[in-house]
Assembly symmetry: C2
Homo-oligomer: 399 residues x 2
């Protein structure tokens, strides 16, 4: 992936620091973005403005020389790690090796992100390096604005996501309703009628995503009271007339970029309250989307959703910071290498910029009623936004 490190160059200049350093595996998206190297165990990356250097284990050395965005690839054995670890212990040996590596790069003062490991930071300080923390996370900020290549990856993940949503919706549509309201389907393998559970729908979603080149850690298929908790993944039988929140957030395996979307369904007619919630949430979605444009802030977009809910008498975290019912989360977040990243559509959300990818996902929750959430994923454009999931219908009732 191409990426833009100019903000990092500016930060190093402004802070008068010699290098920006990350020590993490590629599950840390700043590490993956900066180094371009995908490896499970922690490795060390230093960017001086002129040079990007990575320091890896011997196991990763060959692959790093081929795959990392690095001018220099070094390995632990060059700095005699094994014998130092035997005499000093692993933590001290690593800090010593990193300090020597930085000395070879001519770096005496470094900036590190907020989540840089304190053990390593203190170890470098013990070796005489100045280690300061970049509290504003320059790389996550830079990552928020995507290149065309990154946007294409998000588009592909979104296509897979819509296919998975359609597969889930089709299962609910095909289901029959038992006398007690439980949804049932005919098992393909046995030909027998079985209960349709959250887990069965999750499996359908996950298999569909795999067939489309995507992986995911988890999926939310939450019905009834489960749906009243925005992060409950859901379990057990699905019930007719209850809201079923389906929130899918896959990662394209090849690129590691995510998508994210949510729809809420009811098999047959829901309660009047749930129907009213759905209409209000659709209205909040439209109001929030209408506020998305460059120069508007994430706070503005969040306020637009809050206003719709508050006008209809629903509590929000703005009207009551301790509320456990109503609109109890922010309106959205950036999506990229992380499924939750900058920018935030919350009271602290800053100015939106073209090329950012954000979710817009208002919702209402109450254990007495269930939950409703509708989430689109959009790209901020020069004059507004492009809704990547705007063609997927927003319809509550599945017959």
């Amino acid at each position: 992936m191409t990426r833009d490190l100019s903000a990092l160059d500016d930060l190093l200049d402004a802070a008068d620091a010699d290098a920006y350093c990350i020590e993490a595996g590629s599950a840390d998206s700043n590490q993956l973005y900066l180094s371009g190297f995908d490896a499970p165990d922690p490795f060390f990356t230093a960017y001086t403005g002129d040079e990007l250097a990575v320091l890896v284990s011997g196991l990763e050395y060959g692959r790093a020389t081929k795959e990392a965005h690095a001018d220099t690839v070094a390995r632990l054995s060059t700095y005699d790690f094994a014998s130092r670890a035997a005499s000093e212990g692993q933590a001290a040996a690593l800090s010593g090796v990193y300090a020597d590596f930085l000395a070879d790069l001519g770096a005496e003062s470094v900036l590190v992100p907020e989540r840089f490991p304190v053990g390593v930071a203190d170890g470098l300080r013990d070796q005489g390096l100045a280690v300061d923390v970049d509290h504003d996370d320059v790389l996550e900020t830079a990552r928020a604005v995507k290149t065309d290549e990154e946007l294409d990856a998000v588009r592909r993940a979104t296509e897979a996501n819509e296919a998975a949503m359609a597969a889930a919706e089709a299962l609910i549509a095909e289901a029959d309703v038992a006398d007690d309201g439980t949804l049932t389907i005919v098992d393909d393998a046995t030909g027998e009628e079985t209960t349709l559970t959250s887990e069965r729908v999750q499996e359908e979603i996950e298999v569909t995503l795999l067939r489309h080149g995507c992986a995911l850690d988890e999926t939310i298929v939450a019905c009834g009271a489960d749906a009243a908790d925005p992060h409950d993944r859901g379990s057990g039988p699905l019930q007719a007339g209850e809201t079923i929140i389906i929130d899918i957030f896959p990662r394209e395996k090849a690129s590691k970029y995510h998508s994210d979307m949510t729809r809420t369904f009811s098999k047959g007619e829901p309660s009047d309250t749930a129907a009213e919630w759905f209409d209000r949430t659709h209205e909040a979605l439209d109001a929030a989307l209408a506020a998305v444009e460059p120069g508007a802030t994430g706070a503005d977009v969040h306020a637009a959703a809050c206003e719709v809910y508050e006008a209809a008498g629903h509590p929000t975290l703005r009207s009551d910071p301790d509320t456990e019912t109503g609109f109890i989360h922010s309106t959205g977040h950036g999506v990229g290498l992380d499924v939750h990243e900058l920018p935030g559509l919350n009271p602290r959300g800053g100015e939106l910029e073209p090329g950012q990818v954000i979710t817009v996902e208002p919702g209402l929750y109450d254990p007495e009623v269930g939950g409703v959430r509708i989430e689109d994923i959009v790209i901020v454009t020069e004059d507004g936004y492009e809704n990547l999931t705007g063609d997927y219908p927003v319809e509550l009732v599945v017959e």
Copy 2:
């Protein structure tokens, strides 16, 4: 999951610290183990010996009160986070909130793991707290010895893993060999002959795992030169007569515990060199397994594998720390909430204890030949080990 925090109690006593703190999401396995709470975004956990307290966002509060192993669940709004973030910025506000939370617990000095975020650690220090680093990772050390409940989770993940390995092997067995040596299979959907690729086998593995309640980030199906790099995931057509390394490391979704196993296959007869490597690796596996017992060290087990290879004239990292061919990784690692965790079977590996789960996975690599690796996963028992994957055949040639 049940877990044993007695080592943490001892450490707090020995270090005369008031609390052990973690600030991370549940992707950090120490956080998941200590807090028992599965949430994607970072939250704060403090253990005083008498009390386990977690501090979460409002979004996670309801679920945390139900799911966390916590005596106390607090939320950011109780400490006025939103208005502090508006005036001080998010990083300073979080540190201030955490400091107030620790004050309510009576904690003035805290221990944190090596990978605790330096931004938070420095913030707490600025608030007057003493923050020291636990370089020995007491929780990862404690996690290495599993309870019966944890072992059952690993057993279930292993059963899924064996099913996925069998599905992959069956695809290779069913394949035909084209004139140029490429493997081909008949596509179920179209009835047409298509090339059998690493990606197709990976998909089969991943779908099988999903059907067995497991997820995974990635799978290695590496053929030919790809197999010569132990962390190359493999891509493209599979070839007859070349070694195909299949390394599967799923996580059971419900418990979050992993398994890990590897087999190497050749469709039809491989080269004499590959066949010799396979026999030597099988011998190294047996020698390493024979060394596994309580009181033996990870270093002993690693040495047993190295000796087999070195006696046969293959380079190892012990005989040449810079070698890029031969046996170029350690002999194994612990498996649990992380797929790579303590104990290590490497030159620094300490004494094995009953209840530890380890992989034993010798291998040989050279781009001119390919790669061979055989990996079993075993539980260290009172008098040796129980091999969880020992019933899966170790056979190179698939006809």
